[in-house]
Structures are given as C-alpha cells and as structure tokens.
C-alpha cells in the first residue's frame, strides 16, 4: 500500500469493532478503522450508511455500545466531548447566533481559561487563517454573513483551539458548487499546513477523491473498503464500492474454462468474455465483474480486435458531456452499458455512432475488476 500524503505512520484514531445501535437500528456495525497522524481521512457513503454516527462517536456525542474508541492511544469510550482532543465543524455550521464572529471563535478558548490578551491574538490569527479579514468581520453577527463566510467562521472556531483531530461533518454541503471547489482546496491546504488530522464525512464521492489521503467507503453500517482514492476507484472490492464511486458497468456469469492466464466466463444469455484467471477461479465458479465506462470501447461488430472482449448490442443513445461523450449500448440481454469516449471535438472529429447502429462493446480482459461477494 502506498501513501500519497506526508503523514506519519502513527495511529491517532483507532476504532476497534465499534458498534452503535439506536433502538432496533444498528447505525455502526463492528467497525474497525485506523487513522494516521496528519492524514486527511474521509468517511464516504450514502445517507444512512453510518458515517455521521461514526464521526459523532469520535467527537463523544455518541457512546459506543460495543468496542473501543481510541484517540491518541487512550480509550475514550465514555469521555465527554470536552475531555477529548477534538474539534468539530457541523453541517449547518452551528454558530452561536447571539455572539458575534469574534466571540464565536473565542468560545473554545474562553472555556479553556486562556488569558484574554492571548485569546485576542489567537482569534485574529484563526480568522486570517480561514481568510476572513478580522477588521471587517470580527464584530459581525452570524446572521449578517453569507453561507461561505459562516463556514469559514465555523472552521476558525474549531481550528483556534488547536485540536489534534478535526472532525468535519459534510461542511461544504450547503455551499454552491464554485465556492465548494475552492473550499475543498483550502481545506486540503490547511490539513497540510497545520498537520492536524482531518476526519471528513461526505456523501460526495468526487469531493472525497479530491481531498482525501485515504477514504473509508461505508455501506449499511459497515466499512466496505478503505484505501487511497486511486485504490477505491481503480480497485473496488465490492459492487457497492464500484457503483458508488464513479460509474460502473457490471457483468456476471459462470467460469467455463481457463487457459493462458485467462478464464472464460459465460453470461446467462450465452455470450462469453474473458477475465484474468486469479487463484480459485475454476470452472463452475460464479463471478461478477465491474468495468469503468472509460475502460470500454465501441466497435463495428466485424472490426473487434481479437484481444478484446466483445458483447454485441445496439446504440441506444449518445450523450454529450463536454470532456467525454457517453455512448449507451443496449446489449442482446436487455442490459444497458455506458461507454465513455474521450471528446476529441465533436465539431471536427465527431463520435461516429448513432442510435440504432449495431455495435459491439469491447474491453481488454485485464481492464476489469473481479468483485468479492458482499
């Protein structure tokens, strides 16, 4: 496993078989997870997957029913939030509406009995860190700020107490797209600059891929996969991960033969394709594979290169997306396959496919991901 970030190998957050139930609902189910010092770590998943509950377990806003939560090496299962080395940025910012920006940011320092002269300088520095001019904004009330400015105040309020671990619960969810992209880069830069471990909850896969050193993809209260953005995108272990992160086409069938390092798979409709013959892929074995749209190609049925898999079908639609052009092909068995072709200029070199064309969807046997059973 390679790491993209400069973070150390010291584990600052460790969850060991942590379970949290709300009545009959298990929100977090035996989750084990380690997060390293300085890492930008994302918890990614659809709503209700348990990612926010996991974050709240780290904050101390929830207590685990089973398992241990360790922060900086110490078990903190029953410790209250104010006894933990964390700060948190909430989804709706949770700024105190009766306090101005300065007093919102000063709140955590006042609780820690920091001398008031030091509070003043640290509040200034925190506001400058999140690029809010203290002379302009310090005296404003939260109601006088835009969404993006509130987000910056919330961030300054959390950073000013210099936590070892910063927890962020979908902090950019309510901000418009352009500002969100900008804030993503700023958050990433702050993580590098301050050396604080960031644990970031999001349902936006693109956001997670952009910012994270590592991502834990969560599905129905469990961790489906942990890895770098490249690992979870290019080497998804389950159909859920493949489908949730980016787009994916799925093919299933039974292994009928293996030779020359390739296994031949027969799909229910009778069509066949080849996949890399990993250990244990003997004849009779049912398999499921995922292929990214950009790993596919579209061919005239007679022109498919011998090295490629090919499934016959007909073009259903051609969708122009700017960077790419998607060709949607309906296969003989009725399934749709999405193929992403790089846009080389539709005005000068248009994609030669039109709805109704008889084509074959092709891909190289090694350009697929054999999925584990979920």
């Amino acid at each position: 496993m390679t790491d993209s970030g400069p973070q150390s190998t010291e584990t600052v957050v460790q969850l060991s078989r942590v379970t949290k139930r709300f009545g009959a609902v298990t929100a977090v189910d035996a989750v084990t997870l380690g997060i390293r010092r300085g890492e930008f770590f994302s918890l990614l998943g659809p709503s209700g997957c348990g990612k926010t509950t996991t974050l709240r377990l780290l904050a101390g806003l929830e207590e685990p029913d089973e398992g241990d939560v360790r922060l900086l090496g110490a078990v903190v299962n029953r410790r209250r939030p104010y006894e933990r080395p964390v700060a948190m940025v909430f989804q709706n910012y949770a700024l105190f509406p009766h306090l101005d920006v300065r007093r919102n940011v000063a709140f955590g320092l006042e609780q820690r009995r920091v001398p008031s002269a030091e509070i003043a300088t640290r509040v200034r520095r925190a506001l400058e860190l999140v690029r809010l001019d203290p002379d302009v904004y310090a005296r404003r009330m939260p109601s006088q700020l835009s969404g993006g400015q509130r987000q910056r105040v919330a961030l300054a309020r959390a950073l000013v107490i210099e936590p070892a671990i910063l927890l962020l619960d979908e902090p950019l969810g309510a901000i418009d797209l352009k500002l969100r992209k900008e804030m993503q880069l700023e958050l990433k830069a702050l993580n590098r600059q301050l050396g604080i471990t960031f644990v970031y909850v999001t349902h936006d896969q693109e956001e997670a891929l952009t910012m994270s050193d590592r991502i834990a993809v969560m599905d129905r209260a469990r961790i489906a996969q942990v890895g770098t953005p490249a690992q979870v995108y290019e080497d998804p272990r389950t159909a859920f991960v493949a489908d949730f992160i980016g787009e994916c086409n799925f093919f299933a069938g039974t292994v009928t033969a293996r030779e020359n390092g390739l296994a031949t798979v027969e799909a229910p409709g009778g069509a066949t394709f080849r996949i890399p013959a990993a250990d244990g892929l003997g004849p009779g074995r049912a398999v499921r594979i995922a292929v990214r749209p950009e790993w596919h190609d579209v061919w005239r049925p007679a022109e498919v290169p011998a090295a490629e898999n090919a499934l016959p079908g007909a073009v259903r639609d051609v969708v122009y997306l700017g960077e790419t052009v998607h060709v949607i092909v309906r296969l003989a068995d009725g399934a749709d396959v999405r193929v992403a072709l790089r846009n080389e200029g539709q005005l000068i070199k248009p994609v030669p496919w039109h709805p109704g064309d008889a084509v074959a969807v092709g891909w190289l046997p090694e350009d697929c991901q054999v999925l584990e059973e979920e």
Binding site: A59, G60, L61, R80, P81, Y82, V86, A87, M88, F90, N92, A94, F96, P97, H98, F107, G108, Q111, R112, R157, A158, I161, L167
Partner: protein, 294 residues
C-alpha cells in the same frame, strides 16, 4: 423579472384596502375601550372630587399628593416587592419546568396541557381553594398537625406569604409558556457545538441556553410582573386588610370609597412603575448587558 414585479405591484395597491378593513375592528375596539377610558382615568386623576363621588371642574394635584402619604407609599412598596418576588419565584420555579417540557419528546403536549389546565377554572374559584388550603383548619395545617410537626395550627392565611403563594400559583403558567417556546426553538446542535468546544454542562447552560431563551424569560417576566403589580383579588382574599396592595386600593376607591379621582391617581402611579420597569429593561438590552447579566 417583469411579470413577478407587475404581480407584486398589483398586490401592493389592492390589499391596502383589505389590510385597512382587517385592522379596523381591532383598532376601533382599542380606541373605544382602551384609549378613551385611559384618557378619562387620566383626566379624573387631576380633577377635584365631587360631593357625591364624581368629579367637579378644575385641575388639582391633590390626589397624587395624597398618595405620597406614608400609608399609601407602604402599600406601593409592598406591591412592588410582592410583584418582584412573585416574578422571581415564577422564574425560578417555571424555568426548570419549561426546560423539562421542551425536552419531553412525545410527552410534550400532555405536559403543556397540564400547565394550561388550571386556566380553565375561574381565578376566583382557584383563589378560594387557596383559602381552604391555608386557613387554620385547612389542609396544610391538618397534615402538619397529624404528622405532629406542629402543636397548634400555623397562621398562614392573611400573611404576605399567603399573598405571594397565591400570586405565584396564579401566574406561573404565564412564565412557563413563553420560556417553553424559546427553549423549544433552541437548536440542540448549538449545545453539541459548545460541548465539543470544551463547555461543561454549567457553561453550556449559562453561555448558550440562558442567553438564547432570554426573549422567553423577558416575555414571561412581563406577563407575570404586570398583572402581579395590579393584582387585587389575591391580596384581598388571601391577604386581608393588613396586606393591601395598590390594586386592592384602586378597587376600594372606585367601589366602597367612591373616590374615583384618588383611585385614578393610584392607577396611574402603578402604570408609571410598569413604565419605569420596561424602560429599565430596554436600557439594559440596548447596552447589551442582558446577556452579560445572564
């Protein structure tokens, strides 16, 4: 852009008439039954008393001068002290109740119903019930005697304590309801944010909960203080002649004593006290020290 604007312009002109006709009944009612009587009372308070109880022409400060008599100033002082004490006790007793109800989940409505229920019964009947509880042979004394805690009945009725108990009992719901409303609106995420920022329970309460429920506290205090200041039934029934409040005095002047100008003057002194209290609050709020007080 042009369509919505045209629509709004139309809305602006037409409803002016509609709005006026909707406001008219209420305005008329207030003018006829509030402003006019107040003006009459104000005028009476500056007019000499007539032989048979009415007023005669001319102006005089005699009634206000008479109120400055130590006898009446004692009544005024007692009234203010009782009203302030009643407001304070209602706040102390009412805030925790409102706090619990605001967090009671599905029991909320039932608890609110229980708070409001006493208001279904006539205030007079409820005050008489207090007499049955507090008199020498009443429930409280019976229990104390039966338990052997006292040897002879305590004098509870016709004391300042009885009046205060009656006032607190009567006005407590008026304190609970507005505080409940402001606590109900309080976003629990703010308390979580404070906790993660290092605030222990007491700090969360004083720094977040109390300041954010201040509008409810002020509304409740006004709703209790003003009627407590003007109370006449409770001091009359539970306090007797020795515990007279300004309200009782006014009632007597307009009733048995048939001295309407003096009753009017006493009413206006009371209104002046309310005015001073409200102005003092506004001064505090504008200087931003209400939160600091909390």
């Amino acid at each position: 852009m042009s369509r919505p604007r045209a629509l709004l312009a139309g809305l602006n002109r037409r409803p002016r008439l509609v709005v006026a006709s909707l406001l008219a009944p209420g305005t008329l009612w207030l003018v006829v039954f509030f402003f006019v009587p107040i003006a009459v009372v104000l005028a009476y308070s500056f007019m000499p008393r007539g032989v048979y109880g009415g007023v005669t022409g001319g102006t005089t400060l005699e009634h206000y001068r008479r109120f400055m008599d130590p006898l009446y100033l004692t009544v005024l002082r007692r009234t203010v002290v009782l009203a302030v004490a009643c407001t304070g006790l209602c706040l102390l007793a009412g805030y925790p109740v409102a706090y619990v109800i605001a967090r009671a989940g599905r029991w909320k409505n039932l608890l609110l119903f229980l708070i409001v229920m006493p208001l279904w019964t006539s205030f007079l009947v409820r005050t008489y019930a207090m007499i049955f509880l507090l008199r020498d042979t009443g429930f409280v004394n019976t229990v104390l005697l039966a338990l052997g805690l006292v040897r002879e009945p305590l004098t509870l009725l016709y004391t300042p304590g009885a009046v205060l108990a009656g006032l607190v009992y009567g006005y407590l719901p008026l304190m609970v309801l507005p505080i409940y409303v402001s606590l109900e609106k309080l976003d629990p995420t703010l308390l979580e944010a404070a906790e993660v920022l290092g605030a222990r329970p007491a700090a969360r309460f004083w720094r977040i909960t109390v300041p954010l429920s201040m509008p409810g506290i002020v509304a409740g205090a006004m709703l209790v203080f003003i009627p407590a200041l003007g109370a006449f039934l409770t001091p009359d029934l539970l306090g007797g002649a020795k515990q007279m409040m300004v309200g009782t005095l006014v009632q007597n002047q307009f009733g048995a004593a048939r001295d309407w100008p003096f009753g009017s003057a006493a009413s206006f002194v009371l209104m002046a006290v309310v005015l001073v209290a409200v102005l003092a609050y506004l001064r505090l709020r504008d200087r931003g020290s209400v939160e600091a007080l909390a």
